[in-house]
């Protein structure tokens, strides 16, 4: 990893099409996640078209958690801009806010599950409810992985290892976090539309 990074910093003419391999790997990884959720949502549509489908109203808390995740994305972007300008104090605040909002989002999703249970929509039962739990659960699982990536950036930020000349770690983190945000927006709108 280090050697590739050193390569970036060199002031040399760039070889044709030599993107940072680590970032390229991240994008391919995102493609596989997209395919995972694309298959899940299309399975949802195929199954829904067959009838015998329980309809229920999405608990309001998922609206609020969406706002929380959007805010965390904004904070993440703020952290990135601060890192670019070497404003360490703001970077630390912003990246901490992102992390906390990520945790709050997870807690709210869990609260949403509880409300679903109180509405008699269970994981075990009509596939319409099961799919809802699977989508939110799988996304939550990816949010946890995002929080782990974020945690490493957060540690690096507090050790002053993230600055204008060492942005790779936070760039990867920003891309992944925004992706998880957009992924949730997709799932949210999808679940609202096809409930």
């Amino acid at each position: 990893m280090e050697s590739v990074h050193q390569y970036k910093v060199d002031k040399e003419p760039q070889e044709t099409l030599a993107m940072d391999p680590m970032k390229f790997i991240l994008w391919l990884f995102l493609v596989s996640i997209i395919m995972l959720f694309a298959s899940q949502t299309s399975a949802y549509l195929v199954r829904r078209a067959e009838g015998n489908w329980l309809e229920f109203e999405m608990p309001k808390i998922f609206w609020y958690s969406t706002v929380v995740l959007l805010l965390s994305s904004i904070a993440m972007q703020w952290a990135y801009f601060s890192a670019k300008k070497d404003q360490f104090k703001q970077l630390k605040i912003a990246i901490s806010i992102t992390f906390v909002l990520g945790l709050v989002f997870l807690a709210m999703q869990f609260e949403g599950w509880k409300q679903l249970v109180s509405m008699n929509v269970y994981f075990v039962g009509n596939p319409s409810g099961s799919f809802f739990y699977v989508f939110t659960g799988l996304h939550g699982f990816h949010i946890i992985s995002g929080l782990i990536v974020l945690f490493f950036s957060w540690m690096a930020a507090f050790r002053l290892n993230v600055h204008a000349k060492n942005l790779r770690k936070i760039q990867i983190c920003v891309t992944y976090w925004h992706f998880l945000d957009i992924l949730w927006l997709y799932l949210f709108v999808f679940l609202l539309t096809f409930n």
């Binding site: 390569y7 003419p13 195929v46 699977v134």
Partner: protein, 628 residues
């Protein structure tokens, strides 16, 4: 390392960071948790060969059961124990497990991991001119996830209730309900865990292959100079990246159904007169998800074989590959079509006939790019100075199997004909020829051709040729009669055919197939002996044994970690300059500039001489900055 000293000018100050590359590696770093792509490739190859022995042995056991139903199998008791009854009969439940595990092992563990894992890992860095994969660590992880998946699958073979037995396609409800079959309990659980790990392994590997091909090519190695092997590995990896997550998806929902009681795939099922609580699921949904992976998987298995064949045929026919761009375009076309034909596996699921006709139309279009490939191989061979090395024989054999197996694909792709042929031995014969045997021939061709580069020694040519002829004849003797049995209506996965009137007159044909299968199985031991003997005692390999153009033959005979001792060679031409008119030799390697071959240059190539300075001045794209 010494050869590189003079080159380290601007890079010298980085040497401190790279010091760890120069440390002596201990046994564990060198052979076990190794990050060198060549060692990982060999790990994949050896694991794949071991799995192939297990997988093919299984097929021989159930072929004996099918073709020689009266035989006494007591001699297998030491291996199979309780699965052979006291009267020497194979247990019917274990028969189903054998069929299932044969499919799983051959498709995933041998022809996906063993083929792609070996040759993508081995050839991508060597042929594009890179020191190693983009991430050696991820590559190492990829192998060890595969190894873990292998161990779990292997352990499942020894369960008292037997391994998974619902067919390699694991359709629910058979796979979802433990009551369905002894193997649907713990055996199926281990199958699912193993496959989940396998998917992780394939994604880690595939992401690495794509990143390496796109980002780490050497100076001058533009996409239109890439050998077709690399194109095929790249396209294979993209297919895997897009389709394996979908398998993960379907497996995940199946796990929820099995262990948490959800109803994604289960509905209205009665066992012993009692209804299960599951309501509202759809087993067809599983088939859609499964075949969205399952069909591209066919090409994941086949495309590397086609890529290897392109390279081996051009080299040994001493001719440029015919239609280089058409070959790439047809591979891209096959890859694209692979994603929109999955429902042709499901024509008889009660699908809307109109939808069926759409999928039939798309399926039949695949014949076009496949035919382009077939024609291009044959026209490359046409009037070539063919050298019949074992690798070449297996490549030509692949073309033959690809064509004869592909023809029956046109029949099966018709939704009306498929009603008669679905789930018969006709299907079995079709996919074994076009996907099973053809890909296995690709694997053999690759092993024979790149063995000198892998181990620095040559395999025995005569034994290789004998191995080819026995296998080639054996494969056709198995599968041509199998088409007839299939048309006669023999269904797949039946334990025996002794109790039906219509099957009686085909019993000798069935026996013939089984004898041919045993013969072909025994022929493989020639290969095994040749392979393992030559690793240690084979003749030492020369620098470029096949007089080939690609970059791997410019590396040392046994390349170390980092592949080239000095700087990585630059590339000035495509890899198919064989028998060029006017040239001194009948091959011009990719790293020879046009300025050195004035006698054979075409007018437009003379114009390219001026660009060579630019190529030389480009940076090395050397991820290690030096060799090791």
């Amino acid at each position: 390392m010494s050869a590189i000293e003079g080159l380290e000018t601007a890079h010298h100050h980085h040497e401190v960071e790279h010091e760890h590359h120069h440390e002596e590696q201990n046994f564990w770093q060198k052979y076990i948790f190794c990050e060198d792509h060549k060692v990982i490739a060999k790990q994949y190859l050896i694991t794949g060969i071991l799995w192939a022995v297990i997988g093919i042995s299984m097929s021989v056991i159930f072929r004996i059961q099918l073709g020689l139903p009266d035989s006494n199998l007591s001699w297998l008791k030491p291996v199979l124990g309780g699965w052979i009854s006291d009267s020497g009969k194979l247990d019917p439940n274990f028969y189903l497990a054998l069929v299932t595990m044969h499919g799983t092992i051959m498709v995933f563990f041998v022809l996906t991991a063993g083929l792609s894992g070996t040759f993508s890992n081995f050839l991508i860095p060597l042929q594009i001119g890179a020191r190693d994969m983009a991430s050696g660590f991820m590559n190492m992880l990829s192998y060890w996830f595969f190894f873990l998946a292998s161990v779990i699958m292997f352990v499942s073979l020894f369960l008292q209730a037997g391994p998974a037995a619902g067919g390699w396609v694991i359709y629910p409800p058979l796979s979802a309900l433990p009551q369905a079959h002894p193997g649907s309990g713990m055996g199926m659980t281990l199958w699912l865990v193993s496959m989940a790990l396998f998917i992780v392994s394939q994604l880690l590997g595939g992401i690495n292959y794509i990143t390496t091909v796109i980002n780490l090519r050497t100076r001058g190695m533009s996409f239109d100079r890439l050998p077709l092997t690399i194109w095929s590995f790249l396209i294979t990896a993209v297919l895997g990246l897009i389709s394996f997550p979908v398998l993960l998806s379907s497996v995940l929902l199946l796990i929820f159904d099995r262990h948490f009681g959800t109803s994604f795939y289960l509905s209205d099922i009665y066992i012993n007169g009692e209804a299960l609580p599951n309501v509202g699921g759809s087993p067809i949904l599983f088939q859609h998800l499964f075949w969205f992976l399952g069909h591209p998987e066919v090409y994941i298995v086949l495309l590397p074989g086609l890529g290897i064949t392109s390279e081996v045929i051009a080299t040994n026919a001493r001719k440029p590959i015919f239609g280089y761009r058409a070959m790439i375009a047809s591979m891209l076309g096959i890859a694209f079509l692979a994603f929109i034909v999955w429902a042709h596996h499901m024509f008889v699921t009660g699908m809307n006939p109109f939808l069926g006709s759409v999928f039939m139309f798309l399926t039949l279009i695949i014949a076009v790019p496949s035919a382009v490939k077939g024609f291009n191989y044959i026209t490359t061979l046409w009037k070539g100075n063919i050298v019949f090395t074992p690798g070449m024989l297996f490549s030509i054999g692949l073309v033959s199997l690809f064509v004869s197996g592909g023809l029956t694909g046109i029949i099966l792709g018709n939704s009306a004909l498929d009603i008669q042929l679905h789930d018969t031995y006709f299907v079995v014969a079709h996919f074994h020829l076009v996907m099973g045997a053809a890909s296995a021939f690709g694997l053999f061709a690759g092993v024979y051709h790149w063995f000198p580069k892998m181990f620095g020694r040559m395999m025995n040519t005569t034994l290789g040729q004998i191995h080819f002829w026995f296998t080639f004849v054996g494969i056709y003797l198995i599968f041509i009669p199998m088409h007839y049995v299939g048309i006669a209506g023999f269904p797949r996965r039946y334990y025996q055919f002794t109790s039906y009137d219509f099957t009686h007159k085909f019993m000798d044909m069935n026996m013939f197939i089984s004898v041919a299968a045993i013969f072909s199985f025994l022929a493989q031991f020639i290969f095994l002996w040749n392979f393992f003997y030559s690793i240690f005692k084979g003749k030492r390999a020369p620098q470029n044994p096949w007089r080939s153009n690609t970059l791997e033959w410019t590396a040392p005979i046994v390349p170390g970690h980092g592949n080239w001792d000095g700087e990585i060679p630059a590339v000035y031409r495509w890899s198919y300059d064989y028998s060029k008119p006017g040239a001194k030799e009948d091959f011009i390697p990719q790293n020879i500039p046009y300025s050195q071959t004035l006698e054979s240059n075409l007018p437009h190539e003379n114009e390219l001489i001026s660009t060579e300075k630019v190529i030389e001045s480009q940076n090395f794209n050397d991820q290690f900055k030096s060799s090791h």
